[in-house]
């Protein structure tokens, strides 16, 4: 068991050495394209051998003819299987950040630069990373195809794209041609949002002495969905019978209270649970449209709001190194 594991690890290391991470579209070159008979191919070979023996035994010319025709077919099919992957170019679309535990959807784009279509090309993620399904696709002459793989994410941080295995059995299934490709790309994985602690209390904003209950019409910024914790006086009752959902009024107010999400203030122990809690808070604060800032040991993101700010916070949470 240990031996097979060590062997497997060494094989993997060898494969990785043979296929270093590459940027941009990768062309499948002849020298990195491997081919071996499949189990079906071995069975077919055995069958052909039997047919050859039978033809010899019966001195049967038509038997020889069929056996040799199939023998030729095997050799030709090998070339066709090999050709089916040759010169394809492979790249992966940038994968948007995901939260740990969510599947990352990887779109592998195959381009066929040749004048012949390529049928039944399979893309699978390497076994070192859990891939949930492999995709088989046809690529028209001069055209493209997209295979979607979903990758399992476990831990926050940068997840390098798994080694991709592009393979094909076409046309006869007697041989499998394949290549390994490592793309120099990664997926940003945010911490898994978790924790039940409520948002910490907000502190007064930067502007001193502002009227905290100002509701000037000129600052009305729109409606958004009601969330838990919204003050009832902000509920926009007029729209409730019409839409059936509670909406609250939003005000654009520079003197709003400011919320600090501080690593040091998160209740509880370890680093990861704290990061998870902070992630949830960021989501929560963003959903409510609050102005918030993030303090991590050694880093501080000044208060702000909006999607770019949220992403910046999540990113620093994902990449936080202690």
């Amino acid at each position: 068991m240990a031996l097979t594991q060590r062997l497997r690890a060494r094989t993997r290391a060898w494969i990785d050495r043979r296929s270093p991470p590459q940027t941009g579209p990768v062309r499948i070159h002849r020298r990195r394209l491997y081919i071996l008979p499949t189990r079906g191919g071995a069975w077919f070979g055995l069958l052909l051998f039997t047919m050859l023996l039978g033809s010899m035994n019966y001195s049967n010319s038509l038997g020889f003819a069929l056996t040799f025709l199939l023998g030729g077919l095997v050799l030709v099919a090998m070339h066709h299987t090999h050709r089916n992957l040759l010169n394809l170019t492979v790249r992966a679309a940038p994968v948007g950040p995901v939260f740990a535990g969510q599947p990352a959807l990887l779109a592998v784009m195959l381009h066929n630069p040749a004048g012949q279509s390529r049928l039944a090309v399979a893309v699978a993620a390497d076994d070192t990373v859990d891939a949930q399904d492999d995709a088989v696709t046809d690529i028209p002459a001069g055209g493209d195809a997209i295979c979607r793989l979903s990758l399992t994410t476990r831990a926050r941080g940068r997840l390098p794209l798994p080694r991709l295995k592009i393979s094909t059995l076409f046309p006869m299934g007697l041989f499998r041609a394949w290549t390994w490709i490592r793309l120099d790309q990664s997926v940003l994985v945010y911490p898994r949002p978790a924790g039940r602690a409520p948002l910490p209390p907000a502190s007064p904003g930067l502007v001193e002495g502002a009227d905290r209950h100002r509701t000037g019409r000129e600052d009305f910024a729109g409606l958004r969905r009601y969330g838990r914790g919204d003050p009832p006086r902000l509920i926009h009752w007029k729209s409730y019978p019409r839409t059936g959902t509670l909406m609250v009024k939003q005000f654009d107010d520079p003197r709003q209270e400011t919320l600090w999400l501080d690593f040091a203030m998160v209740p509880g122990g370890g680093v990861e649970p704290r990061l998870s809690q902070l992630t949830r808070w960021v989501q929560e604060a963003d959903r409510r449209g609050l102005v918030y800032g993030l303090r991590l040991p050694g880093a501080e993101i000044p208060p702000d709001r909006g999607a770019p700010h949220r992403d910046r916070c999540l990113r620093s949470l994902a990449l936080y190194a202690d």
């Binding site: 189990r39 019966y58 049967n60 020889f64 040799f68 025709l69």
Partner: protein
Amino acid sequence: MPTEQRLRLIAVLALVMAPHLVRVPVWVSLFTGAILGWQAMAAWRDWPAPARWLRLRLLLALAAFVGVYASYGRVDGQNAGVALLMLMLALKLTETHRHRDMMILLGLCYFVVITHFLFSQEIVMAVFLGLAGWLITACFIDANHPGRALPIRDLLRRSASLLAQALPLAVLLFVLFPRIPGPLWGLPSDSGASARTGLSDSMEPGSISRVALSDAVAFRVEFEGDPPPPAQRYWRGPVFWSFDGRRWTTGWPGRFLDAAPDYRPQTAPIRYRLTLEPHDQDWLLALDLPARAPANAYRDAAGSLRTREPISQRRAFTLSSVPDYVLQPDSPPDLLDYARRLPGDGNPQARALARQWRDRDAGPADVVTAALTRFREQPFRYTLQPGALRGEDRIDQFLFDTRAGFCEHYAGAFVFLMRAAGIPARVVTGYQGGSPGLGDYLIVRAADAHAWAEVWLEGRGWVRVDPTGAVAPERIESGLGGSMGADEPVPYLARGGGDLLRRAQLAWDWANAGWNRWFLAYGPERQRDFLAELGLPDVRSMILALTLLLTAVMALIGTILIWQARPRGGIDPVQAAWLRLCRRLAAAGLPRRDDEGPLDYATRVARARPDCATTVSALAREYVAIRYRHGGSRQQRRAFIREARGFRPPGGPRRPARI
């Protein structure tokens, strides 16, 4: 598995099994057909598998074994094996859902195709091979394209292309793969096709005339020079020494004597190639007298050729014969004694007649003449329908009562008379004659079957005497059709003549002869001869040539395929024309900056060079329209290319200006 894929698989399976349907018992055909039909319906209507099908299938498989054993008394052998294969394939189909099972089933389809060739290797079977191979390969492609099923046309086109590329490799392998002679493990006792017409290993009245009712080809002969005249075309087959009162059989010398008789040729040997149809007997036919035995055959005690194994496949032999010979002038006395033996009693009249000839104090040659004269002068008839002879003394009955018979009657009676007169004699069976085919070869048919006699005369050895020639000389000269009346049941082709149907028959026979000669007869001997002519004298050079040529063809195919997979150099001619225009402007001192689009560039050019402002702006607008908006019609693209190519900045090249 998609429904279409499954239906196609079932259709191909039905096709490859179809020719076997007439060969297996009815219940096997019905069972196989029922399962295939049911599976087709199940795929069509999306029926689920019946409950407990797994266990039922196991029971059915067992029942199939029992049934085959009950039908054939065995489960191995050619016929039982085919029946079993069909049953098992049908059952395998019911569990074929995954890719792995598909691969196994489709491989077995090829195997079913090869089993047909055990029964027939006619030209039509080659057509069947091509068709079945095409369709099975298409199914293979189908099975290896998961998801959306490919259109049938596409499958067939790809399959044909694969097979066409495999064909040169197959031809190389067929010609150059070293063939080894003979069966590797022995043929099953029921191998080959059944019910063959031809000579048998014994002779009695009626046995040859039965054979002569058939038009079937016995063998074909090509002579190296001119064929011998019809009267010399005696094709020597088995010789019968022993008579039990009714039947002539090989007897002791034929069965136990190994020593081949010596002979003195009187003429140069004739060389020829004889392609023998399978007759399941261990003898060869050869022009009288075969000079020596080919490989895998030997000369028996009577000088006929025999093989070690029965001939159950069509085979070709290169032979040589001496038409004029003195055979065994110094025969061992015990052999001559054996050739005088008769049963203790029976046929008293014939014995009395022979004694009377001998007592006339004549030499053996005179006795022979006396017998032939009797056949010629008395009202003997040569007929295919002599009527049955009954009772004990059949030779007496024939000689003195019915006086109607076919060649075996005459040969048998003649040898009996000679032996009764104390002259060593034996019966020779074989063929006599042969008609020309469309090429330069002779076709010898079952209708040419014949029997004659040999007597041993002091100093002359064994001499051929054909008593039929005394009764019906035209039989020897012009064959069966020329010697029989219109009311005789002479087979159609033996009648001779030249109408359209007969010519078509001859053309077909010619095609078959070529097929036999060039394809079916390509065995170890033929391969050795053929390749020796090409300068490949031994197995080593064969393998070397095969390896080199295979590698060369594979390299060629591989190169073509890789060339087809090359990236198409894809620069749009419109873009090429635009880039050339840019180069020309650059040469005129106005290079395009990397960050400049066509329109910005044109604007800048227009400012710097008002003389060509309109042209460049128009071309830039057109270029943008074609490349980025609508793609452009063919005329537009062509017009743009023409205009852009024709553009020359006035003033010619200049050093780059600083802008």
